[in-house]
Symmetry: D3
Subunit: 242 residues, 6 copies
Amino acid sequence: MKRLLNRKADELRPIFLGPGFVKNAKGSCFVKFGDTHVICTATIEEKIPFFLKNTGTGWITAEYGMLPCSSSNERIEREAVKGKQSGRTQEIQRLIGRTLRAAIDLTMLGERQIKIDCDVIQADGGTRTASITGGYVAMYQAVHQLLKQRKIAKNPIMHQIAGISCGVVDGVASLDLDYSEDSNAEVDANFILDSELNIVEIQMTAEKSPVSSATFNELFDLAKKGTREIAELQQQAIATLK
Amino acid sequence: MKRLLNRKADELRPIFLGPGFVKNAKGSCFVKFGDTHVICTATIEEKIPFFLKNTGTGWITAEYGMLPCSSSNERIEREAVKGKQSGRTQEIQRLIGRTLRAAIDLTMLGERQIKIDCDVIQADGGTRTASITGGYVAMYQAVHQLLKQRKIAKNPIMHQIAGISCGVVDGVASLDLDYSEDSNAEVDANFILDSELNIVEIQMTAEKSPVSSATFNELFDLAKKGTREIAELQQQAIATLK
Amino acid sequence: MKRLLNRKADELRPIFLGPGFVKNAKGSCFVKFGDTHVICTATIEEKIPFFLKNTGTGWITAEYGMLPCSSSNERIEREAVKGKQSGRTQEIQRLIGRTLRAAIDLTMLGERQIKIDCDVIQADGGTRTASITGGYVAMYQAVHQLLKQRKIAKNPIMHQIAGISCGVVDGVASLDLDYSEDSNAEVDANFILDSELNIVEIQMTAEKSPVSSATFNELFDLAKKGTREIAELQQQAIATLK
Amino acid sequence: MKRLLNRKADELRPIFLGPGFVKNAKGSCFVKFGDTHVICTATIEEKIPFFLKNTGTGWITAEYGMLPCSSSNERIEREAVKGKQSGRTQEIQRLIGRTLRAAIDLTMLGERQIKIDCDVIQADGGTRTASITGGYVAMYQAVHQLLKQRKIAKNPIMHQIAGISCGVVDGVASLDLDYSEDSNAEVDANFILDSELNIVEIQMTAEKSPVSSATFNELFDLAKKGTREIAELQQQAIATLK
Amino acid sequence: MKRLLNRKADELRPIFLGPGFVKNAKGSCFVKFGDTHVICTATIEEKIPFFLKNTGTGWITAEYGMLPCSSSNERIEREAVKGKQSGRTQEIQRLIGRTLRAAIDLTMLGERQIKIDCDVIQADGGTRTASITGGYVAMYQAVHQLLKQRKIAKNPIMHQIAGISCGVVDGVASLDLDYSEDSNAEVDANFILDSELNIVEIQMTAEKSPVSSATFNELFDLAKKGTREIAELQQQAIATLK
Amino acid sequence: MKRLLNRKADELRPIFLGPGFVKNAKGSCFVKFGDTHVICTATIEEKIPFFLKNTGTGWITAEYGMLPCSSSNERIEREAVKGKQSGRTQEIQRLIGRTLRAAIDLTMLGERQIKIDCDVIQADGGTRTASITGGYVAMYQAVHQLLKQRKIAKNPIMHQIAGISCGVVDGVASLDLDYSEDSNAEVDANFILDSELNIVEIQMTAEKSPVSSATFNELFDLAKKGTREIAELQQQAIATLK
């Protein structure tokens, strides 16, 4: 199978990271992975979940949503109307929060919480890894503000993290699947790595039948290649913040 | 009181109407009234509310939401997490749907529904009137598609409609209030008019104490001036659609 | 079209205001506008919404409901069973609370809240304006109790307010629409005025196509005539309270 | 302990049964047991619960609610706002429906449902038994209409039923407890009997410590006396229906 | 009608009471009444419902649930998925809590709450009475722990209580109905008695048509016989606790 | 750190698989991994999710819950009372369903659904992998019934699957973590493999800071060892079914 725009199996889609998209947020980033567009914002709250009260420790959490018209299939029913977030939504926002927490030394953040909101404007595969990638930039900007306002003395961010999806499509291990590839993949995997290519989280699912360790290793190698390139783009985006 | 950027009492904020912002939607418009930014999209559904079954008549409805970081105050809790839409949200989306229905001859639409989603990216006053103004453009684009696809034979849009807020701030009747003005206004009004300046809907509330008919008339005149200018911008935006 | 009982276009239905209907409430009023019957009650709570804590200011709020058999159409599903209040219900109760707040100097009420419950026993058009009209009487009675108990020193009620609906039916501007008129109206409007005929709130909707300012003015004049008569009936009802 | 108004231990409060209170309902009854006031209405629905489809059998069901200001204690939060009916509400409405079903031969009703709504305007003890007593009258009126309209050929009501509470207060077995008695009772019982004094349902609870069979028998005798008197009042109320 | 396994009309099913089934609970009991299997557990919480704050008084409450596959009919939808407990569930858990409270002197418990969870693994009739019977044992074990830990000085349990269902099946008054009997019963009754055979709670419902006092008495006698036997089994189970 | 009962780093806890525990279910298995106890049941439904209508294809889905007293920490609030399933619950039940679907050729199942319920009686780490392991046995038993009843001609189960957790605790890669280990682990991983040791799903999370590929490989090797042993136990359990 030919990929769209003659993309090679180990090639990322065009990626855009635009920090500062939402004026009212403490940090924000408009992320594009091809036709997947996500607005990530960061809020700083001077309060903390109950279980952290009086521990001096901070917290990172995330929420995720899709605008009703973001899907290339039919309109997605608004979760505020349905009255609850779907299992998929909750799974994704738990993943975003968990992986971003691994980037940071929470004890250095003080008793405050950074909340990352990821809202999908257009969905074309890989919205969760795009959210983590852009969420990192928004979080960075919010932490940057805390430093500038001298609310914290030292940068608590210990690891630069990014997410990328890959999978096996028509028997070919491929990087950064778009929706048409993702919905036909034999294997679907999400790798959240740091810029040193260490593992923050791995999720891999055999969608059709069980697969070998060799397949896993092939996908892991693709993910490392992609992460190297994305980490570079994150660096450039962050450099534009004053 | 001086308005921001030396705006005059009868002057609109800079307005931008960008049709086609969301690739997957049948119609879309990114609306900006100053720092108020709203994404409006239109979905065409070949089904109809129960009470219209077998009447040959179509329907227009709307949903409204605010991204958590859109507010210039503190983060807004996500309605999908709270498990229900607030009374304010429902009031606004009912208004958007009701006024857009007045623009169209529903019997000419056939038994189908156009659903307008208005999602606020940044809020700085006047989100409901911006939503109606941009929602009209998104609806126009969707209807345009139905015509091109020959699903309907004649354009069912009978009236071009737009919304504008105005109010009395520090004793001065003013057009197109931003958030800082709106939250201190003595009177708050929303006018939804057609391009002939006929009335689709009027909502006016005395926020502090009851006011005279003269005040109402002053605001109505401002709304007419604003609507003339906005209607012109809508025409330009629509002209860019092929 | 002939109106029921030969009512003239500018004539109210028979109105009854019975204060003290519910023994356990601090204030109450059984309101009838023709076959529209509403029980309004007032509760005094010595607590205040969060955003008013330590401001010395009071609050008025309202809740609205319809008994399942109140409708002349089919039975209305009980909102407690559906698990949420409809958008219409919330819109109406927000209107009742907002307009009754405009009647009162909240800083003179002290840090307490008066909650107005409006429950519709029979619905035949105009339930929201009947609720405001009767809600005013129930609120008055509750304030009266606070004065008698010397919890407040001076009457904080600054304006006597009432609500009335009007609309254009078969081309004729008409006062106080019943359900059969309301459901066929070309224009539907609710005026909440004070006894000096100043404006508290105006809501006007063109149900079919946009209408001229002249139509608005005709309806406004009818609303003023109706309000004068209703305000007189409120005075009589209040005079019966000792 | 003296009862209010010198009522004797085996004496009912003044009871009023006013059929036809709600114009829009197929059957209705305003019931008063002293200061306990309940509006009961009946709706006829030409549809049937799923499990009865194509059995030719009808159904009776009930819903119960309390207006927020009905309580002599503090205001009751509206269940439509809380988003669910309480356990107490559901228990009561299941009781009302179940006991009214025992009054009727459901196979003679045809595949239709009568829904009884019981809404408490004032609560002073015994709202569930008052609801059953008045619900019977509303149901009777609805069945009467079906007969007049020849939708059913024969009266399916087989038993005239009524409810009455009794209990042990300060050691004295007493009939028809008001709220102040009920909240101090050692034993609380509800008897739903037919006019032949046969048992439809018995609920008896020892609120403090377990009690003997003798106590049960004393209460049962009171309930029989009360039911005889209430059944007579139901007959009179029904006789006024034409 | 022959009963299963040649059981006589006044004969209990084989009953098993296994205390200590759940390691993590403060008290627990696996109860079997024939094929009805329930896990009862007790939790001690050092907090108290709001209305008991600062009264020195404790509380007992209960929650009830059925595993989806417990029913001998089709799978029961999980209440956590439906988003609410059914009326039946709430009615049953209110009964369990209320009757267990009658067993105990709450003032001797101190300001703490014992929460009894009853989860049905297999349902074959009589789950609520089995829950009360086993809930008593779990509660006993939890109280026992409080005594051993010297959190309370004296045993607050005043009455040993148990529950048993009975009913009239094919005209025969029968003890301890299984599901096939229960679903065809003319009369259905639950008796919660103490070991002295005094009454804690009686619920009796004529499922088909009203029944005489004689029937009630017959059932009451069966219930007393059953309770004597069950109380003996509870004693044996409790004796195994060290 | 010493493991409980001198367990070695690569040693499983005692595992028990008891098929047929719940009489009313089409398939069932009581699974114990040490003190983690789960009841798995299988229901066969002759209906199919909407998106599979008329495709001839079947479906496997799962639901997961924890009894309130199952936790070794404090009591877990009942999700039926909270009114929704937590994100964790949904994530787990989606995992169980997804991995069991990979075991089966859905086209050979016909248009029917097998629903796997996993209810945790005691939780001591690894409830999700225990659920998959026992869920497989329950599913096998249900499929076996379909074969015996000749509803399907050939066994659609293509792969025998099992789940096992492992992690790094105090720097040591360890198999089958109990709760005390799991809550202190540096890395937490779940492997769902088939009996050929191919991958169905991998989830690995660095709980503290990112980890190397070498760590991943160590854990994967442990998982393979564990799966070999568990697969053998599943074979033995299945052999007892006639």
